[in-house]
């Protein structure tokens, strides 16, 4: 994104370069969500980075929304905060107009529309939305910054997405396994896999670490766990 013009000369005189403003930055971090049979687990680390700096060890980017779903964000934190503010406002309007909370499926579609409305100045955010759908089943949706979205059973995005996704494919989806019984996992099993995913990713990805915050969404409500990760 940075545009710099280089004029190098042999003389000690400094050649000029204009400082150009870029409205975007990447604050790193990893998020994932897993849909269970009647629950959903959404998790994200809490480190905020910029380049080689750690801005904060605890600046959560997984947000509990007022309709009972959980939105995990990654990419530019300032855009993510703005997006969540807009979503919360729309959820509130919907609630007062229709006297009911918005379903997760409806929110999923609305998020796509909101993202696409900024197609030519996008929110630089990779979203993962998790919740319980109208049939009481766990569901996960993932998005790119301009609103492409897809429904999954599990998904991982962010700076360690490429490290964790194949692990989830194997452990949650039983991919590349033979002679085993495919089944839905229990919340406890999923949480264990999530913790292992993040501790492993922390070893290899400098943008993931400090804490992982895990949201377990069930019909009964949302339980939150915070687990320490390595801080280096």
């Amino acid at each position: 994104m940075p545009i710099t013009h280089e004029y190098q000369s042999a003389s000690p005189v400094k050649a000029p370069v204009e400082h150009r403003f870029s409205p975007y930055t990447d604050n790193g971090g990893t998020a994932l969500a897993v849909a269970g049979e009647d629950f959903c687990v959404v998790a994200g680390d809490t480190r905020q980075s910029e380049g080689y700096h750690i801005n904060s060890r605890y600046q959560p980017k997984v947000f509990q929304l007022s309709n009972g779903s959980v939105l995990a964000t990654g990419g530019m934190y300032a855009d993510a905060v703005t997006l969540v503010k807009r979503l919360e406002q729309r959820l509130e309007w919907y609630y007062h107009q229709h006297e009911k909370k918005m379903s997760v499926d409806a929110l999923a579609q609305m998020l796509s529309v909101i993202l696409y409305h900024k197609r030519f100045f996008p929110y630089y955010v990779w979203n993962t939305l998790g919740g319980i759908d109208g049939n009481g089943k766990g569901c996960v949706f993932s998005y790119d910054p301009v609103g492409n979205y897809e429904k999954h059973h599990w998904n991982c995005t962010g700076s360690a997405g490429h490290l964790i996704q194949p692990f989830l494919d194997n452990q949650i989806g039983f991919k590349h396994m033979q002679g085993i019984q495919r089944r839905f996992l229990t919340p406890e099993e999923v949480v264990r896999i999530v913790k292992d995913s993040f501790t492993s990713a922390t070893e290899r990805d400098i943008y993931t670490g400090d804490y992982v915050e895990i949201f377990i969404v069930t019909a009964g409500g949302i339980d939150v766990q915070r687990v320490p990760l390595k801080r280096d």
Binding site: K14, P16, H19, Y24, T25, H53, A78
Partner: protein, 265 residues
């Protein structure tokens, strides 16, 4: 791009492929003159002109403490040596700024306007540090979204109703909260020292210890940051209210220079 104000106007950016244009007279070199002709199209801040370097902020037992020097540089020229870069907003909030000084003074103006408007409501409510931080961060994000940024990195600190607050916001609208924050060059040199001294000790550190930590780090920055000054201000906010010291000089030690080749005689 390089958003760290400490890099702006450095003789050579630490991004080793980028040379700085602000070395001598920002905006007045041959390359820039054409695009800066008078009565051209509306100008926006494309590069900072008069800049302040690092600001530090830490949490201690009873509140928040900020530190900054009083230098406003014009490129590499130490242009204004007595500029306040930490301000009070209301009784319970402090704001420290690095980056473009003019933009910061404009921010000071809009916050004063806000404070007066809130006062005029006369509803017994006072803006808390979190309110001011939220407002500021939306202003900063709004300006970046219109491609007309306020070219600063700001630290907001405060205590209200027993709640300590220390937050950061910059020209891109990036926000975060942490028990130690450092902008500019301080993010490189100061932050590790602050973390070592403060992290995990937020509820033990006394006001005197906190001041010593900040003075020590400001001294290190003065030794290493060529855009800094040994004249600093330290601001403290506790439940009892906020205070900003008058600018004072840090004691420095240069005897070692004698033994360094190329430094002393």
């Amino acid at each position: 791009m390089d958003h760290f104000p400490g890099n702006w106007g450095q003789p050579r950016s630490r991004d080793d492929h980028v040379f700085s244009s602000t070395d001598y007279f920002p905006g007045h070199n041959a390359y820039d003159v054409g695009s800066r002709a008078a009565s051209g199209p509306a100008q926006r801040t494309q590069q900072p002109m008069v800049t302040g370097t690092s600001v530090l902020g830490i949490t201690f037992k009873d509140g928040i403490m900020l530190a900054a020097d009083t230098l406003a540089s014009y490129g590499s020229l130490a242009r204004f040596r007595d500029v306040q870069r930490i301000i009070k907003v209301g009784d319970s909030t402090l704001i420290g700024a690095s980056g473009e000084v003019a933009d910061f003074q404009y921010i000071e103006h809009i916050l004063e306007t806000l404070t007066i408007q809130e006062y005029d409501h006369d509803d017994g409510q006072k803006l808390s540090p979190r309110h001011i931080y939220e407002y500021l961060s939306r202003v900063m994000y709004g300006r970046r979204s219109n491609f007309n940024p306020l070219w600063n990195s700001l630290i907001v600190g405060g205590v209200k109703d027993g709640d300590r607050f220390l937050g950061f916001v910059d020209l891109q609208g990036t926000t975060y909260q942490s028990s130690t924050i450092a902008t500019g060059y301080g993010a490189y040199i100061g932050q590790p020292l602050l973390r070592k001294a403060v992290e995990g000790r937020e509820d033990e550190l006394t006001e005197e210890e906190a001041r010593k930590v900040l003075e020590d780090v400001m001294r290190v920055l003065f030794y290493r940051d060529a855009r800094s000054l040994n004249k600093i201000q330290i601001a403290t906010v506790t439940a009892a209210g906020s205070k900003i010291t008058e600018p004072y000089e840090l004691q420095t030690e240069w005897a070692f220079a004698e033994g360094v080749r190329g430094y002393g005689a």
